[in-house]
């Protein structure tokens, strides 16, 4: 760690991991409710568990992105953070607002929460992923603006690197597109149309820039490959991401009442969205193969390579699986979507945040380069447990999805939704069991921070 103010990131990462644990617990509750309908009812109804599961994901990833930016930007810009106090202040505001929102979901009925937070003054609630009370949304905007100001000023006063600029572009996009959360037209088609500007243009657009920038930073640090080489790849990858991702939004417009040409645009452009992810995989492995040194933080390199592969599989391949309009006609909103969502979020965004934590946390905790061998070995166990169980969760959901599509929509005698849900229960059970394995992996991950604290740092073996 070169600059004292980079330490701000530590708080953000701790909060991120804490909320990650919460997200997984609610995922398990919900997974159980798929097969035992009244599990924990009426304390935690399914819709609330789902809301908490997805909202926690978004919030902890935002914590992770902000932490990553606070760590990475000063080091790239070669200057202290513009206003560390602002970063601390915003951390507590964001955490308290986030916690209050989740408690609101859990403690009072959603309608009461809407009433309490005066949703009728500026109605924005009630839409999937954007369930937050309007006042929380305003809080998110304030936090995002202060954050961008802090990061932007740091970049302005320091060295301008491609990594920083791409990251700033991504983060600005994140803030700008979130503003569409406030646009809530009464026309349902228009509402859905712009709702995707937040949801899609985040994960299939600007977030990919954030992913690319963080990955580039980690690769520069751990491989010692020339910055110029990595930057060139970054340019091409973000160009392809934006070209395919922006018009690729069309794959959400097939059946919502938008003009028909979106079926063509959505199919063609989103079919190419795997390309930048594939490039990212090729580039990550290339850079590691061309490395000029062996970095002793093997866990961080593992996460970095892991994210490149899993993002390609989850976002790229599983996205392609159901992106073409004629296919999506049958698969829309089935468990295929859930399968894709799980692996894509894990591969592209969970893993990149964990990669950044893995790289930077030892440095912020006073290590020279990395954790002890014991700690790293446990972290790598957690990597494999979480990653493999996520692969199986995805496969089981895909199985469930294919069966669901067939029984409910494709066969000669289509069955009712709930009848089909009963028929595919076996897959849900398997998914739930695998979810517990994921939780074990996550527990090991948390424990790895406390293991081997007094052992010496791991070193690079002389044999390559």
């Amino acid at each position: 760690m070169k600059y004292e103010s980079q330490k701000v990131a530590k708080l953000y990462f701790i909060a991120a991991i804490g909320l990650f644990v919460g997200q997984i617990l609610f995922g398990l509750i919900m997974g159980a409710q798929y097969v035992i309908g009244d599990f924990l009812f009426p304390e935690i109804p399914f819709n609330v568990a789902r809301m908490v599961h997805t909202n926690l994901l978004i919030v902890w990833l935002l914590f992770g992105f902000m932490g990553a930016a606070y760590y990475l930007v000063p080091e790239e810009a070669e200057t202290e953070l513009f206003a560390p106090w602002l970063a601390y202040l915003m951390f507590w505001i964001f955490l308290v607002a986030g916690a209050a929102t989740i408690l609101g979901y859990l403690l009072v009925p959603y309608a009461t929460l809407a009433e309490l937070t005066m949703n009728d003054l500026l109605p924005t609630m009630g839409r999937e992923f954007l369930e937050q009370p309007t006042i929380t949304k305003i809080g998110i905007v304030i936090v995002a603006l202060s954050f961008l100001f802090n990061i932007g000023m740091t970049i302005l006063k320091g060295r301008k690197t491609v990594v920083n600029l791409v990251l700033l572009m991504g983060l600005t996009g994140l803030a700008v597109f979130f503003l569409f959360a406030f646009y809530n037209p009464t026309n349902l088609v228009m509402d859905k149309y712009y709702w995707w500007w937040v949801v899609h243009l985040w994960v299939e657009g600007v977030w990919e820039l954030i992913l690319g920038a963080i990955l580039a930073f980690i690769l520069i640090k751990t491989t010692g490959v020339d910055r110029e080489v990595i930057e060139k790849w970054l340019y091409i990858i973000i160009a392809m991401t934006l070209i395919t991702g922006i018009i690729g939004t069309g794959h959400h417009y097939y059946w919502i009442g938008a003009p028909e040409f979106w079926q063509w645009f959505g199919s063609i452009f989103s079919a190419m969205e795997p390309i930048p992810f594939f490039m990212m995989t090729v580039y990550a492995f290339n850079m590691v193969n061309k490395r000029r040194r062996n970095h002793p933080n093997k866990a961080a390199v593992l996460w970095a390579l892991g994210t490149a592969v899993m993002a390609f599989l989850g976002a790229g391949v599983w996205g392609f699986l159901h992106t073409l309009a004629p296919v999506n006609y049958y698969t829309h909103g089935t468990q295929i979507t859930a399968a894709h969502g799980h692996m894509a979020f894990y591969g592209a965004y969970v893993m990149i945040v964990l990669a950044m934590i893995s790289y930077s946390m030892p440095l912020m905790r006073g290590r020279e380069a990395c954790n002890s061998a014991r700690s790293q070995s446990m972290e790598m166990w957690s990597f494999w447990l979480m990653t493999i169980s996520m692969v199986f969760i995805t496969l089981f959901l895909t199985g469930a999805g294919i069966l669901q599509v067939y029984l409910q929509r494709f066969s000669d005698n289509p069955m009712d939704f709930m009848v089909v849900q009963d028929k595919i229960a076996l897959f849900y059970w398997l998914r739930e069991i695998t979810g517990f394995v994921f939780l074990i992996g996550l527990t090991l991950y948390v424990v790895s921070f406390f293991v081997g604290k007094n052992d010496p740092e791991a070193t690079v073996e002389l044999s390559k």
Partner: protein, 190 residues
């Protein structure tokens, strides 16, 4: 010595070739989808193809071929260490790019004034999206060529080091190549 011999392969930066491949793949997908869809709506496509201005498209084809030729001359000029001539040839190529954009804009103007849009029918949907997508690539190619031209004028390239010129030229030829497929496919073939 033959000036071609001392040059590495592929010309320009390797990364631009990855980009070019991705672009060609994108257009390739678009063209195949066009072909398959046309096969199902031959009559519709044939009818509305007649409303396109083939002469304008022919002028544009010549404009792009000429500009590609100018770019070739620019590369060969810089290989002989002549920055000034390289700059002039690039200006010529850019001018032909402007011609292309102007002619294409007139075509669009004609169609739009007749109320044609993406929703009119499947043929126009393809015509508009394919050509606009290509139109945007011409603009991007011109931006790249302008950057190269400015650097050439400032003496930024030499006979030894002119990767940038080759990189820009490679991209421009791709833009030209795509039109060479697009023109017969959309305007001529029946």
């Amino acid at each position: 010595m033959n000036p071609m011999e001392k040059n590495k392969w592929p010309p320009g930066d390797l990364v631009i070739w990855i980009f070019i491949m991705a672009e060609l793949l994108a257009f390739g997908v678009f063209f195949s989808v066009y072909a398959f869809t046309r096969a199902n709506h031959v009559e519709l496509f044939n009818t509305y193809q007649l409303t396109l201005d083939r002469n304008a498209a022919l002028i544009n084809t010549l404009a792009l071929i000429t500009s590609s030729y100018f770019v070739v001359r620019a590369v060969s000029a810089i290989r002989k260490d002549n920055s000034k001539r390289c700059f002039h040839w690039l200006l010529g190529a850019l001018f032909m790019g402007v011609v292309f954009l102007a002619v294409k804009s007139m075509e669009y103007n004609h169609h739009f004034s007749h109320g044609v849009n993406l929703n009119t029918n499947t043929f126009y949907m393809f015509y508009l999206s394919l050509t606009v997508f290509h139109f945007l690539h011409v603009i991007l190619g011109m931006i790249i060529l302008s950057a190269v031209a400015l650097k050439a004028r400032a003496g930024g390239y030499s006979a030894q080091e002119h990767t940038g010129v080759e990189t820009g030229a490679s991209y421009w030829h791709m833009v030209d190549l795509v039109w060479m497929v697009l023109f017969p496919l959309v305007y001529v073939m029946r």
